[in-house]
Symmetry: C2
DNA sequence: GTGAAAGCGCTAACAG
DNA sequence: CTGTTAGCGCTTTCAC
């Protein structure tokens, strides 16, 4: 018969060393000097802590302090090149500020996002960076009302007084479209997603304005948004490409649409790709690897990460809330083989 | 002057309703009937809980119960197709068992992995599924000693008495190599990583045995493992391909090596890919999308997820530890365009 | 059927 | 300089 060895607590340590838990706690938290505990005692405690490889119970600490020092970065899909890049940068900034950060993917699914928000809020995380899926307004308001620090990212929610960092989608779509026009393409189609999200509307509007301004005809394919059925989407793209043979260039509204589109193009005819101009909104590691390499309108990931964290850390520090920060950044066109002059 | 509205606690609720916290707690946890609380009281409490949209403080609950009902799935890179697929399946099983699961990437970095293990252990997660990077033995032993449920995945650590779920890498490499031989390739090179990990050794051994058995010459390129310097790796591949013109097929030891290799091949000559036989260990969403589509040796993701969770849930339930479960599963060859007969 | 009260492990105000 | 102690919000035993 044996007992499960219980993890030692501060109290256990205090008993062994014949001192109070207060002293141990102070030393543990590096407040020994500040609290004027003698060098010898500090050394004795630290040695013992190291010896038994003591790990404090952070659940208890969090309950006591009311802070977990954990933040959450909640995006549509953390494996997406754009989000993972920003995530990585954010992680570094968090560590420097003695915060930890957890990543998770909403898959643009409201229900899943609600669950994630509650999961983390109930576990008392200190703050959120969220790419809000459509329909999540209520949960965001809930966090706001409860004065949980939240910064929106990639999309804003117009009716909400929340901080956000986004890019100028309209301008990016204009530049991308204009680039294809400048490269000599005349029948440029826009492939987008049938989702009532402001950033998608802006991209479409940018495309439309540029095409019409050049005296061309907009041609738009709107795919239903359902990650589960990529095959059906690809079939729709194939049908669209086949029945609109006049198209000589494609502008994809997101990087995952591009990837699906490239596959569709390949399935129609492996040579077809070399006859089309292609550009994608959002960059991807994949684009540099494809043959030909694929042009993209890239978002300013460094600046986004810096700004997001600056806003969030500020909210974490100052409990009284200032006016929401609303940031609209500019992206840059990355010209690769797929959009060169034909 | 206003006060930050504190989240209501069980005590607040009890006061408002003029009952004890015990009763509220019982109702909250669905134990009303079991504890024979009157239907009316249950209804009254539930109504009020809903009305104020009460969210329990799970940090407090965890401190009290000693369980967070959170598990961690710690892999090399969660954006890797193989790991994200398994992760998704595991997530479903967790939810069904009323556990939550957190995902994170070790990047095969020991220091990072140590920090992650401690981060989560200090926060009292209930269990771990870990793809162990080389050099992490000590931390895993630490968890084992503290009787934290751990299951290793994708790789075992021979000197450790830990549960694990892996595949037969030797057999998979043999099948993959044999498939290239059967397709008529004669000079098959193996591209691998210079990492002292058992699964890499097994893959190499499987390749070597099959090649020698067919009377051919093994040709192996070992790249240094450093995710940071993909460009340098790619340059090494290019040099290797250029200075070994006799090579007519390539067997990549991991899916990320394949992706890097495909890029190298493209950079040498966009047409070169069509002259080479290619197969990759581990499948990837990318392979189905590439032109040509890339063959792969795929791991049995469903079975892996099921077995991992079966083992972990069992450990969570039965505190006395049984003998470690050591599972070696078989993968399957997915034949695509890149390895067809030339 | 319901409530009082102890206690999970930690921090920090206060006392000495 | 160090210790006593209250209490974070919750669960659960025991009492009535």
């Amino acid at each position: 018969m044996f007992m499960k060895k219980k993890r030692p607590s501060l109290k256990d340590i205090a008993e062994v060393l014949n001192i109070s838990t207060t002293t141990v706690s102070f030393v543990l938290n590096g407040k020994g000097a500040e609290k004027k505990i003698s060098k010898e005692l500090i050394a004795r405690v630290e040695t013992y802590l190291k010896e038994i490889n003591y790990k404090p119970n952070l659940v208890a600490r969090s309950l006591r302090t009311g802070s977990t020092r954990v933040l959450v970065f909640m995006v549509e899909d953390i494996s997406n090149h754009f989000f993972s890049k920003v995530g990585r940068l954010i992680e570094d900034i968090c560590y420097k500020n003695d915060y930890r950060v957890l990543f998770c993917s909403t898959e643009n699914n409201v229900k899943r996002t609600q669950e994630l928000i509650h999961l983390f809020h109930e576990r008392q995380v200190d703050g959120f960076i969220i790419v809000p899926p459509p329909g999540i307004e209520k949960e965001i308001s809930y966090l706001l009302e409860n004065e949980v620090p939240v910064v929106l990212f990639d999309r804003k929610i117009p009716e909400l007084e929340a901080d956000y960092v986004i890019i100028n989608n309209y301008e990016g779509a204009k530049q991308s479209t204009q680039h294809l026009i400048d490269s000599g393409y005349k029948n440029i189609a826009f492939i987008t997603i049938d989702l009532d999200q402001i950033q998608m509307h802006d991209r479409e509007a940018g495309y439309r304005a540029t095409i019409e301004n050049a005296g061309f005809e907009p041609q738009i394919l709107k795919l239903p948004y359902n990650t589960s059925n990529v095959v059906a989407s690809r079939e729709k793209m194939k049908d669209f490409f086949k029945s609109n043979k006049n198209i000589d260039a494609l502008f994809f509204a997101t990087n995952y649409l591009s990837q699906s589109g490239l596959k569709a193009i390949h399935q129609i005819d492996p040579q077809l790709i070399n006859k089309l101009g292609i550009i994608s909104f959002d960059d991807s590691g994949f684009f540099e690897m494809y043959s030909p390499t694929i042009s993209a309108f890239a978002q300013p990931v460094d600046e986004m990460a810096n700004q997001l964290m600056k806003i969030l850390l500020n909210k974490l520090k100052n409990k009284e809330k200032p006016k929401p920060v609303k940031l609209v950044l500019e992206g840059t066109l990355v010209e690769r083989e797929s959009s060169s002059k034909k």
